[in-house]
Symmetry: C2
């Protein structure tokens, strides 16, 4: 027990062991430990976690990393991911008690953040839902923004295809592309999601990939003249079909390949020679490269939210107890919109 | 018989029928037909073919095209490819008898070229071997030049890997990369070719991919810090191994995938998620996009040849009779250097 600090109980979602195949709820366990809410002689901060973000990328950290630079979750320790939190004590000059922040936190009620200046952004705008900082105003938003505008440089009238289109990133890519006058089609895995894409999110068209036995034919139906920009969220067979339908000088931004994360070996992609035939540019995106542009991004997107020009769908799970199911649900497509876990509302 | 024109015999390599799997000599047949050497009332030219180029891309034209824009060879007609030729009669104001040209011609002694301004370049520099216009000064040279300098923008000190490195394009990519101070490693399919890469072509290192049971390990041995630029000529398993070894912000230019052309279905490539992890740019190259820059290219490369700063290896087959074997040999790696067929020396 730390001397002098208030010690209270701390519910946590602990990582049990490295995962092969689809992650299961039983790969995690909810336990209660205790924590001192007082920072003792360091420049750490202690935060109270409010909203946690369920992200497909967390799957990577659930496996034993082969590369020395790869950081796996530690068995027996809480999972880590993006979240929105409130500072309850600070040893760092830039953070003070009561500050709202977003960044990397533990999956628990309270976290000690050792290098807050490196892992937390301060939240200055609270006229929008705080949970948005796990989504449209956080990592997924910046991913969509940078992937579309910075990497693909779309032009008015270009044809944009987005897989996993109702997800945390996809729904924004589509709306951002519509804002500059692109023709936008998305795919998702249920009738309900397809309706949302067309009727709530303003996509020009959408289809349920699970109902298409021939993805190539589905894409030819929706893009008779081909695809200029593909925002890749799923990989595998979908990428193979897209490669057959890219237009000359098309661009593919590889943001994620969620269909592949739980396979022992990713599926083979066969149609890569189309990259040459069509002079396609295929480019990798890791959002961390764009964190220095976060303020610029925020200034552009906040007005769009306030003016109702862009909407954001969230799928809210209540309480840490439900966090494992929420995370696992990403990989079966259970969530409709950005999957968030509410730990506490304030 | 055309009225008034001199009609002479014309040996031809005819395409027999569409090819599946590896092309065989028996997919072609050498026959003698006849041709009028006089252009009658059109702006065509008649050329005498001197050197023909054997190019992997010809394999594509040996299959029945699925796309409307795809041009297959016509069964019963001569194959077509790049060649060096001499004009013997011209109905076109820009070409006159005796002009040397390179461009698309038939696999035959004499060809009628209907739109010479669209398919032929005039040769103005004859102090270098004429056959070079099928190689270093023709399509493969421009491919290497544009693919390396224009697409990949290499910087001094970067690590460049080239597959099929002793081939028509690969040997030039390596030498061009050395000229700007890159570290260059190539792979090829025989001990002899590896020796040539190291001792004649100035590569920093080279290896025989056929002797490596683990391509990933071979690449890690040659590029302990990773690959900045990969010039892709082969595809399949090699690309998969390369993807595991790309450096952050690496570039892959897809020029060809010769290991895949004779398969009914190309091999699957599994490691594409590395494009995201490493923020790799993978870009397609079709040399025709760079034909407008041909003069600029020529002015840069001619002095390098004259000053001996760059060398070019050719594998010369004598006579049209040997053309089918020469073409087929590309796909088993029989050629050492650029495969040329001599039809006539002047």
């Amino acid at each position: 027990m730390a001397s002098g600090g208030e010690v209270i109980s701390n519910k946590q979602v602990l990582f049990k062991n490295f995962v092969e195949g689809f992650p299961k709820e039983s790969d995690m366990v909810v336990k209660t430990s205790s924590i001192s809410l007082k920072v003792e002689g360091s420049n750490a901060v202690v935060v109270k976690n409010l909203y946690l973000s369920c992200d497909p990328r967390m799957r990577h950290h659930m496996m034993k990393g082969k590369d020395p630079g790869f950081v796996s979750f530690k068995p027996g320790s809480p999972l880590e991911g993006f979240g929105v939190a409130k500072v309850v004590d600070s040893g760092h000059p830039e953070f003070k008690k009561g500050d709202l922040v977003w960044g990397t936190v533990g999956w628990e009620e309270y976290s000690v953040i050792k290098n807050p200046a490196e892992s937390l952004f301060k939240i200055h705008h609270t006229d929008v839902p705080l949970s948005y900082y796990t989504g449209i105003l956080g990592m997924p938003g910046l991913t969509a923004w940078a992937g579309l505008y910075e990497v693909c440089a779309p032009k008015k009238g270009e044809c944009v295809y987005i897989s996993a289109a109702s997800g945390a990133v996809g729904q924004l890519v589509g709306q951002f592309a519509k804002l500059i006058g692109c023709y936008v089609v998305g795919s998702a895995g249920s009738k309900e999601k397809v309706e949302i894409l067309k009727n709530k999110l303003g996509f020009d068209d959408a289809f349920n990939y699970k109902e298409e036995h021939d993805l190539d034919a589905a894409l030819k139906r929706h893009f008779p003249e081909g695809i200029d920009i593909y925002f890749e969220n799923v990989g595998g067979k979908m990428l193979d079909a897209v490669l057959l339908n890219m237009r000359l000088h098309g661009r593919i931004v590889v943001c994620g390949m969620i269909s592949q994360y739980n396979l022992n070996q990713p599926e083979g992609v066969h149609n890569l020679m189309n990259i040459a035939y069509k002079r396609v540019h295929m480019m990798g995106l890791i959002v961390f490269d764009y964190f220095p542009q976060y303020s610029e991004f925020l200034e552009a997107v906040l007005p769009l939210i306030r003016e109702g020009k862009i909407v954001y769908l969230e799928d809210i799970a209540e309480g840490l107890e439900n966090a494992p199911a929420a995370l696992v649900g990403l990989f079966s497509g259970r969530n409709v919109g950005k999957q968030v876990v509410v730990v506490a509302r304030e």
